[in-house]
């Protein structure tokens, strides 16, 4: 029922979103940790910056990316000169755009799970000879894993739907940057594209629903509390 070209669009979308979330996950966790635990001047500003893509018109985010990562932009120019590497009009650029758009959602979900870590358990780990790093790897991180997974799924779903920043930053190139929403938009412009729009829209609904259900399930699962918690 789906045409080969449509399967390609879905595969490209999954690749863009997968790479976007996979690479931004550690950064999102670091930011979430800083916002949950850090005490430093400018925390409010960092919080606002992280959340900016959530409230900014996506086309503005895309334009800012264009300025920063364009061939003459501060980051894009440097990438081009030192690594011979450009994100412009490439699927990697689409991944960057959707990662930035998904970041606030991921940071929020992770921050909640980091704030929910029982710090008494971290204290217990320290008295048992674990330094701050071992305490993090063996207690804090495992206890926040459900939140991390939920954030990843949520971010993945958000990233699959990314439209404005992507089309502004890397345009709508078939086979390179034409992800699901962009393909639906393109098909809408074509006479007789209705059937394709319907099929791709149904795929979008199915993927988004699956992601939401998965994320909710991960959040509820959590870990069992200790038997005498809260006495």
């Amino acid at each position: 029922m789906l045409q080969p070209a449509e399967w390609e669009i879905i595969a490209l979308s999954l690749k863009v979103s997968g790479v976007a979330i996979g690479t931004s996950l550690p950064l999102a966790y670091g930011l979430a940790w800083l916002l949950a635990r850090g005490r430093f001047p400018g925390k409010l500003l960092l919080d606002a910056l992280v959340h900016l893509p959530l409230v900014l018109p996506p086309v503005v985010t895309g334009w800012l990316l264009l300025i920063a990562f364009g061939a003459t932009g501060p980051v894009g120019g440097w990438l081009e000169r030192s690594l011979g590497f450009s994100l412009m009009f490439r699927w990697t650029g689409a991944a960057l755009a959707s990662a930035i758009m998904a970041l606030p959602l991921m940071v929020r979900a992770m921050r909640l799970s980091i704030e929910a870590i029982d710090r008494r358990l971290e204290q217990a780990a320290r008295t048992l000879g674990a330094g701050p790093w071992r305490c993090f790897w063996t207690v804090s991180l495992p206890l926040s894993v459900p939140g991390v997974l939920a954030a990843a799924v949520l971010g993945f779903a958000r990233s699959l739907g990314e439209f404005g920043a992507t089309i502004t930053f890397v345009s709508n190139i078939p086979g390179e940057t034409r992800t699901l929403p962009l393909a639906i938009y393109a098909a809408l412009q074509l006479p007789g594209g209705d059937a394709m729009v319907t099929r791709l829209a149904l795929v979008s609904v199915a993927l988004s629903l699956a992601a939401l259900v998965a994320s909710e399930w991960l959040v509820r699962r959590g870990w069992g509390g200790s038997p005498r918690d809260g006495t």
Partner: protein
């Protein structure tokens, strides 16, 4: 090894003073009414709370000295702290809880083997269980085992009987008596119950607010 404590610490808007020498073997009880700050004193000894002034030392090793600016982090104090709320790691099985500290110890530091501890505390049947599935008495024994297997210089027990029913209390008291008699380890025991003190033949140290604060 004797543990020597002489600290003052702030708790909310009150100052607490604690001064005691915990004998190399046998039980020293920190005794006082609820809210007197007994747990804060244990937290200070374990390095989780920073006293305002004073010294904490065990057998020549200074853990804390405000005058000399020494404040060892908790992981270097080797304090076998059994928390009142136990704090077993909920995501790790009993076996991994027990071995959490032991696995990272240098062989020369270990003075108790897991097999000994498991036999001693009767934990053989619980190793594959998650903490959430344990009864109060079982969880208490696991917490004591986890602390003992960290090769501590001393043991700090915070109201270990407080949430147990009568039968379980006796079971845990017998375990504590065996630790006292067989392991020869300084034990600091927090309680507000005079009956526990007389049963364990403990030396008593009163904890309360600093006069005039």
């Amino acid at each position: 090894m004797a543990l020597e404590v002489d600290v003052t610490l702030r708790r909310g808007d009150r100052m607490i003073a604690a001064r005691c020498t915990v004998a190399p073997a046998g039980i020293t009880a920190l005794f006082g009414p609820s809210g007197a700050g007994k747990t804060s004193v244990l937290d200070a000894i374990a390095g989780l709370v920073r006293p305002t002034t004073g010294q904490i030392a065990i057998d020549g090793t200074v853990l804390f000295d405000s005058a000399r600016g020494i404040d060892l982090p908790p992981e270097q104090r080797r304090c076998g702290y059994v928390f009142q709320d136990l704090r077993l790691f909920p995501h790790r099985r009993v076996r991994d809880n027990l071995l959490y500290a032991w696995r990272r110890l240098a062989p020369s530091e270990r003075w108790l083997s897991p097999d000994e501890a498991i036999g001693f505390l009767g934990l053989g049947g619980l190793l594959e269980r998650l903490p959430a599935t344990l009864s109060g008495g079982e969880a208490q024994r696991v917490a004591i085992g986890r602390a003992l297997l960290s090769a501590p210089r001393f043991l700090a027990l915070d109201e270990p009987l407080s949430s147990l029913d009568h039968a379980r209390r006796d079971e845990i008291l017998r375990v504590i008596e065996r630790i006292r008699d067989e392991l020869r380890l300084p034990i600091l025991y927090v309680t507000h119950d005079p009956a526990e003190i007389s049963r364990l033949a403990a030396t008593v140290v009163a904890v309360g607010p600093l006069p005039g604060s």
